[in-house]
Amino acid sequence: MIGLKGKGIRTATVVAATAMLGLGAFLAMPEDAPAAGKIYQGKLYSATRGGHMVFTNITIDADRQMVSGSIAGRMPLPNNDGADAIELSHDKKTIYYPTWDSTLYTVDISGDEPKVIAEKKWMKEVSKSCGSHMGPDGKLYLTSMSFGDIHVLDVDNPKEAKLMDRLYKTTYLCGVQVTANKDEVWTTDMKESALYVYDAKTHKQKNKIEIGGEFLHRARWSPNGERLYQASTGSMSPDANGNFRIIDAKSKKITDKIVLGPNYDAHDVVLTPDEKYAIVAVRRVPAKEFKDSEYVVFNLETKKSIGTISMCAGCHNANGVDPEVKPGREVFICGAQAVWK
Amino acid sequence: MMINAQNLRKTYRADRERLAAVDGAVFSCRKGDYVSIVGHSGSGKSTLLSLLGGLTRPDSGSIVIDGTDILALSDNDLAEFRNRKLNFIFQFASLMPTLTALENVILPTAFSPDPRPRQETAREAAELLAAVGLQDKLKAYPGQLSGGQQRRVAIARAFINHPQIILADEPTGDLDEETEAEMIELFRRINRERQVTFVVVTHNSAMAAEAQKMLIMRNGVLQEA
C-alpha cells in the first residue's frame, strides 16, 4: 500500500505538474494569437466617404484557404461627413475617426455597438485627414491632404482632443507611421509618390524612398514593426493597377511588391497578428461603374489572393440604395483597422 | 520681242463645266508697238490682258516679256517685275479712296525695289497729273473727283514707274470725247517718244484705229483683225 501510495503520489505530482505547465502555457498565450485550427476571426473597421463608418466580420480559414465575411453594421457620423482615416487605440477599445472637416470622433467599440463618446474639432480649416497612426507616445498622428503636413493630436482626454504640433510638411500626405522606438516618423506623399523618413527628435528628413508614377496611400507597420506595408493605386491615371509594397524598416528597401490587378485601387493594408495574411482595402475603379470597395485577402506566403468581401455594393443593393457618386462623397472605403479575436 | 505669248489657255469653272476664257491665244509684239484688242463683252479680252500682265497664271502656255519667262518667276519676283516693267490702266475706278490724287499717282513707287527720292516722285507725279489736266486737283481725294477725273489720275499713275509696257483695259471708258481725244493723243505721244509698248483693250473705234496692229477676241480665241 505504502509502495502503491508512494507511486500514486508521484503519479499525482507528475499529472499536477503537467496540468500546471499546460495552464501556464495557456495563460502565457498572447491575446492576439489566432484561434486554434488556423481560423482567424476578427472585426474590420473602415472609414468611408459615405458619411458612415462600416464594420465587418471576417473569417480567414487557413486550412481551406477561404475568406468569409459580412457587414456587421454601419455607424452614421453625426455631421455625415466623409472620411479617409481610421485608427485603433492601443487597447483596441477605441476607434479614432477624423472626418475631412477636421472633426475627431472618438468611438467606443468595447460594447456590442460602436458608440461616439466624443466629437471635437481640432482646427477650423478643412484638413482632409488621409492617414493616421496611434503613435508609441500615445499621440494620434494624422496626415493632412489640404495642408500636406502631419497633425499631432493629444487625445488623452478625447473630449478635449487638442492639436499639439504640425510638421513634416510635403505636398499631399497620406501615410504616417512612427517606429515603436519613437526614433523615426515615416510619411507617404501621394502626389510626390515617395515615402519620407524623418528623425523624430530633430524632425530632419533622413531618407526618401521614391516610388514614382503612383498615387501612394496608407502605410502600416507589420505587427513586429520590421516591415512597412505600403498601399498604392499603381498609377497616377484613373486606370488603377493597385498593389502594395513591403519595405524593410531597417534597410528602407522595397523587398516585395504584390499586384492586385487592374480596376483595383489599394488604399490600406491590415495584417493578421502573425503577418501571414494581408487584408487589403481596395476601391473598385472606375468608381462610377463599380460603386464598390472590397477587402481582398492575400496569403503572404503564396502571395495569392484567397478571397474578397464586398464592402459597399452588396450592402447597398441589399438595402435598395443606389448612392450618387460625386466629388468628396464617393462610394468607397479608405482606411481600415482590425480587431482580432 | 517685247511680249511673246504662246498657246495661252485659261479656264474658269462655271457651274459644273469649265469655260475657256482664253483659248490657245498667241500674242506677240515688239518694243514700242501699239496693239489694240477689240471684242464683245465677255470675249476674254480682260483675262488675256491679266495673263500678259502676270496678274493671273494660265492653265497652259508660255509668256515671255522682254526675255523673261514670267511664268517661271516666283510670286514675289513677279510682283517686282510688274512694278518695274509694266503698269495697268483698269476699266474700273482703280484709285485708293484714302489717298489724294497725288498720293495715288506716287503709290506704285512705294513698292519699287529701287526707291527714288520722295521729292522726285512727288514732282514727277505732279507733272503727270498736269499732263492729264489735273494740276489743280493734286490734293483731292477720289471721292471729290468725277469718274473721268479719277480715270485720268489712274492714267497718270500708270506712267510713274516709267514702265515699258502699258496694259490698258478700256482706258477711256468714262471720259468725254474731248478728254478721250486728249488721252489718245497722250498715249500716242508717250508711245512715240518713250517707245512704251501699249496693249489696249477697247470698244472705242478711234482708239483701236490708232493701233499699229488690231486683234479681235471671239469666245476666247484671238485673231488678227
Binding site: K162, R166 | S50, L55, A79, R82, F90, L99
Partner: protein, 399 residues
C-alpha cells in the same frame, strides 16, 4: 509712301468702326493693367506690412481671431482683452524667441484740423520689436509717462500735445508710412501710460471711463526661432495656453493671397473671355474689311505690292488700332484705379501702397504688348488669306 501711312489712312477711313474696335481692346488692356497694378499693390502692402510688423504670431483672446485678422489686414485694432499673464506664458513656450504685449484702448476720434481715426495702443518699449523699428528718428530717451509716438497719418508734429481721456500726452516721435492703418493711425504709449489712462479715466468725472481692467492686454506679438514655422508656433501656443488663439501672420497673408488669387482668377477669367471676344470681333470685322477691299488689294498687287506687303498692311492696320486701344486702356485703367482705389479698398478692407514704378511700367508695357498682339493675332487669318489671292482673282471678286 510708306505702308504705315496707308495703314493709318485706312484706320481713319471708317472712324466709328475703328473707335469701336479700339475700345474693345482698351477694355481688355485696361482690365489687365488695372488688375495687375491693384493686385500687386495690395500684395506689396500686405507683404511690406507684415514684414515690418516683424511678428510671426499675433496672440489674441479666443473668439476674437476674426477681429485680429482684420487688424492685420485692414489695420483696425479691436478692443478685446485677456489676462496680462498670457505674455509670460508665451515667453515660456518652446520656439518663441521674443514676445511683446500690447493693449488697445477703445477707438477715439482725434479732431484737429480734420477728423482722423486714431487708435490708442499701449506697448512695452522694452520688449518691443514691432513699433520702434519704424521710428523715423530714434528717441533721444526712453518713452516716458505721458509721451506718445504717432503713426504717419496723425496730423500733428513732434512736441505737440494731445489730450485723451483727460490725459495730456506729448508727441515725441513719429513712424514711417506703412500702408497699414493699424500703424499709420496708431498713437503709441507705454503699457504703464495706457494703464494710468485707464485708471485716471475712471477717476476723472469729466471724461468717459475706459471700462477695461488694469491687468489685461489685448495681444501678444511673438517672434519665433527660425526652425519653428509660424504654423507650428501657433499650435504650440494654443496647446499650452487656454483661451487664446495664435494667428500666424503668414496664414493671414496666405488667406489674403487666396482671396486675391480668387479675385485674380476672376479678373483673368473675365479678361480672357473679353480677350477672346475681342479677338473674334476684330477677326470678323477685318474679314469684312478685307472682303470690302478685295479690289483695292488686287490693285495694290497689280502695282507691284508683294504678298507680304499686303499681309503687313492688314496686320499693321489691326496692330496700330489695337495699340491705340491698348494705350487708351492703360490710361483709362490707370485713371479709374486712381479714382476708385480708395472706395474699393475700403469696401474690401485692404491696405494699399502703389507698386514700384518699374512694376507699373512693366505692367503698362505688357498690357500694351498684349493689346497689340490681340490685334495682330486676330487678323492673321484674314491677312494671310487675302495675301494669297491672285491679283486678278482679287480684282474680279472685288467687282
Amino acid at each position: 509712301m510708306p505702308i504705315i501711312a496707308l495703314a493709318l489712312k485706312n484706320i481713319r477711313r471708317k472712324l466709328s468702326r475703328s473707335i469701336a474696335l479700339a475700345l474693345a481692346v482698351a477694355l481688355v488692356a485696361g482690365l489687365l493693367f488695372a488688375g495687375a497694378v491693384s493686385l500687386k499693390g495690395v500684395t506689396t502692402s500686405i507683404g511690406l506690412g507684415s514684414q515690418r510688423l516683424g511678428a510671426d504670431l499675433m496672440i489674441v483672446p479666443a473668439g476674437h481671431e476674426e477681429q485680429a485678422r482684420t487688424t492685420m489686414i485692414a489695420g483696425r485694432p479691436s478692443a478685446s482683452y485677456m489676462p496680462a499673464e498670457v505674455f509670460d506664458k508665451v515667453l515660456g513656450i518652446k520656439g518663441v524667441k521674443r514676445a511683446s504685449p500690447q493693449i488697445f484702448l477703445s477707438l477715439s476720434t482725434f479732431q484737429c484740423c480734420s477728423p482722423v481715426d486714431a487708435f490708442l495702443i499701449g506697448f512695452d518699449p522694452e520688449n518691443d520689436f514691432t513699433v520702434t523699428p519704424w521710428l523715423k528718428d530714434k528717441l533721444a530717451k526712453p518713452l516716458g509717462r505721458n509721451e506718445i509716438i504717432i503713426g504717419r497719418s496723425i496730423p500733428v508734429q513732434i512736441g505737440d500735445q494731445m489730450i485723451f481721456y483727460g490725459q495730456t500726452m506729448t508727441v515725441v516721435g513719429y513712424l514711417a508710412d506703412t500702408g497699414f492703418d493699424y500703424i499709420d493711425h496708431g498713437i503709441f504709449m507705454t503699457l504703464d501710460s495706457a494703464r494710468a489712462m485707464i485708471r485716471e479715466s475712471r477717476n476723472n468725472d469729466e471724461t468717459a471711463a475706459i471700462e477695461v481692467g488694469e491687468d489685461v492686454i489685448s495681444t501678444v506679438l511673438a517672434q519665433l526661432e527660425p526652425e519653428v514655422t509660424p504654423e507650428r508656433g501657433a499650435v504650440f501656443v494654443e496647446y499650452e495656453i487656454e483661451g487664446v488663439r495664435a494667428i500666424a501672420s503668414q496664414d493671414v497673408i496666405g488667406a489674403i493671397k487666396n482671396q486675391l488669387f480668387t479675385l485674380l482668377r476672376m479678373i483673368v477669367g473675365i479678361g480672357l473671355a473679353l480677350w477672346l471676344v475681342t479677338i473674334a470681333l476684330i477677326a470678323v470685322v477685318f474679314s469684312m474689311v478685307v472682303n470690302e477691299r478685295q479690289r483695292e488689294i488686287g490693285l495694290l498687287r497689280s502695282l507691284g505690292a508683294k504678298r507680304r506687303t499686303v499681309f503687313a498692311l492688314i496686320t499693321l492696320e489691326a496692330g496700330i488700332l489695337a495699340t491705340i486701344g491698348g494705350l487708351a486702356g492703360v490710361a483709362g485703367g490707370g485713371g479709374l484705379l486712381l479714382l476708385w482705389k480708395n472706395p474699393l479698398l475700403a469696401a474690401f478692407k485692404l491696405p494699399y501702397l502703389w507698386p514700384e514704378p518699374e512694376f507699373i511700367a512693366a505692367a503698362a508695357i505688357l498690357a500694351l504688348l498684349a493689346a497689340t498682339a490681340t490685334g495682330v493675332i486676330a487678323v492673321l487669318y484674314p491677312a494671310f488669306s487675302c495675301s494669297r489671292l491672285e491679283p486678278y482673282e482679287a480684282i474680279r471678286q472685288g467687282e
